[in-house]
């Protein structure tokens, strides 16, 4: 499925319209910055198999997130780079190499419908993005043509470095989280299981939530919780004993016990897992989670600034 997304729809959760947005917010922003965009522009979120695109005008694009062995005509296209594409070129994705969500950004952003302050696609309501729908064959998506750029048909020499990527996606089998409101209600055995075991991403995982397979967890006693607001990253304990991590398109309200909350800095890493991949949770303090988030913001600012400088240096507009 390919949909237009941005960093989310805010201000409408209280009427049941969730924030949505890209599953991997780091990749979305990096892709935008690599196109010298502000970060608010609509980006295409792609799963594998991903569509083939024909560029009807020159364009400056960038790919971030998953590596689907992209090609422009017959030239391999690495992710995390700025690419000047020639009119008539065909962008295709040959095979899933790593990760599960790829982001395709274009200079100026993809033309998208804004609804309730966001370009994100709300599939259920059919609003936002590409008229509220996923992209289908023969669809045309508009963008600002870069015909006055000096570079045509080039992979630009700068990139988001491997060192920087390791900070975001390194230790892929370890997902940091903070203890949830109902964490203490877990039995001692279940607490051990939560901290010590490997969970596997099940096939029943989608933009609403990632279902996890593993040793069933139990509370010391049954609780009937009054529903309250939840957020992306909330780890809910279902009656069956299995866990689900709420993702981008989660419902705004939940009534299941919240045993943990994935640290925002590790959501991109989690989002990029493929069904069948295993990981373990590591509980960190809220303070540590906040500190890492501030560092992550700095990293993104640095990437944005570096791209802006490079665009100027190479006379890309």
């Amino acid at each position: 499925m390919a949909t237009l997304q941005d960093s989310g729809r805010f201000g409408s959760r209280h009427i049941g319209v969730g924030s949505g947005g890209a599953m991997d917010l780091f990749a979305l922003l990096a892709a935008n910055y690599l196109c010298n965009n502000d970060g608010e522009e609509a980006v295409l979120e792609l799963n594998f198999p991903a569509p083939e695109f024909i560029f009807e005008e020159n364009a400056i694009i960038a790919l971030a997130g998953a590596d689907f062995a992209a090609m422009i005509n017959e030239t391999p296209l690495p992710p995390w780079r700025t690419i000047a594409v020639k009119k008539g070129s065909i962008l295709s994705f040959r095979r899933p190499v790593s990760g599960s969500k790829a982001y395709l950004a274009v200079r100026g952003g993809w033309q998208a419908e804004k609804w309730l302050e966001s370009y994100s696609t709300h599939l259920k309501l059919g609003k936002g993005g590409f008229g509220g729908k996923a992209i289908q064959k023969n669809d045309s998506i508009g963008f600002l043509s870069s015909s006055n750029s000096l570079a045509i048909g080039k992979i630009m020499p700068w990139q988001v470095s491997n060192r920087e990527l390791a900070k975001v996606y390194g230790h892929a089998d370890q997902i940091q989280c903070i203890a949830g409101k109902e964490y203490e209600l877990l039995t001692a055995t279940s607490k051990n299981d939560f901290n010590g075991q490997f969970f596997t991403l099940s096939q029943q995982s989608d933009r609403m939530g990632y279902r996890l397979s593993g040793q069933p967890l139990m509370l010391q006693q049954h609780v009937d919780l009054v529903s309250s607001a939840v957020d992306r990253g909330t780890v809910q304990l279902l009656p069956s004993g299995s866990c689900i991590v709420l993702m981008a398109d989660h419902q705004t309200i939940g009534g299941y016990p919240r045993i943990a909350s994935v640290a925002r800095v590790d959501l991109p890493k989690l989002a990029q897992l493929q069904p069948g991949q295993a990981f373990g949770f590591t509980i960190i303090s809220p303070q540590e989670a906040e500190n890492q988030l501030v560092k992550r913001q700095k990293l993104l600012s640095e990437i944005k600034w570096a791209c802006t400088i490079n665009f100027k240096k190479h006379n890309l507009c």
Binding site: F10, G11, S12, R13, H14, I15, G16, V17, W115, L116, K124, L125, G126, K127, V226, S227, S228, A229, V230, D231, Q251, T252, I253, R264, P286, Q287, E290, L293, V294, Q297
Partner: protein, 205 residues
Amino acid sequence: MALHNALAQNAFHGFIESVPAYCSLAIFYDVAVVKASYPSAPTAFQLVKELTEKLIAGLNDASNKADNQPIVIPVYYNGEDLHSLAEHHRLSAAQVIEIHTQQIYKVFMIGFLPGFAYMGKVDERIATPRHGTPRTHVSPGSVGIAGFQTGIYPLHSPGGWQLLGQTPIKIFDVEKTVPCLLKAGDHVRFTAIDETAFNTLNEYT
């Protein structure tokens, strides 16, 4: 609700939005912005907690007063569960309708679906648990009961609520600037209409 409104009017730096629920208010904020704006705070969480506590202390009874008139929602009471629910409670359908329409309900929260308003408290004479097995398809505008809650389905959806009738009014309209008719804190009253009136008013076609 008073806190939800106070936050909307007096947002701190980094405040994104707040979401009322039955007995909680979730406050969403941008950690980096909060920390940058209030650098002396050990954590953004602590800062937000303190600011919220100050706001709560500043709220008085006046800010909690519900001065909004009840919103009247017309309902054509021909729901699939009306008769079985009436039978279950040893009432006539007409009595169920009378009991459902004489109450003024408070909207406690909107959630699960865009525009789905959870309202209460339903009179115990007609309060009924959800179906054990939900229907795969409930049409938009369906008015139902689940336990002591009453609600209206804003969209096509699977659903387990006991269906009493249909409202012709669109309670969630994506084309409107303010898409949602109801919000937490509103008061609602239902009124019975006949099939002709329903067809005349029907916004769902």
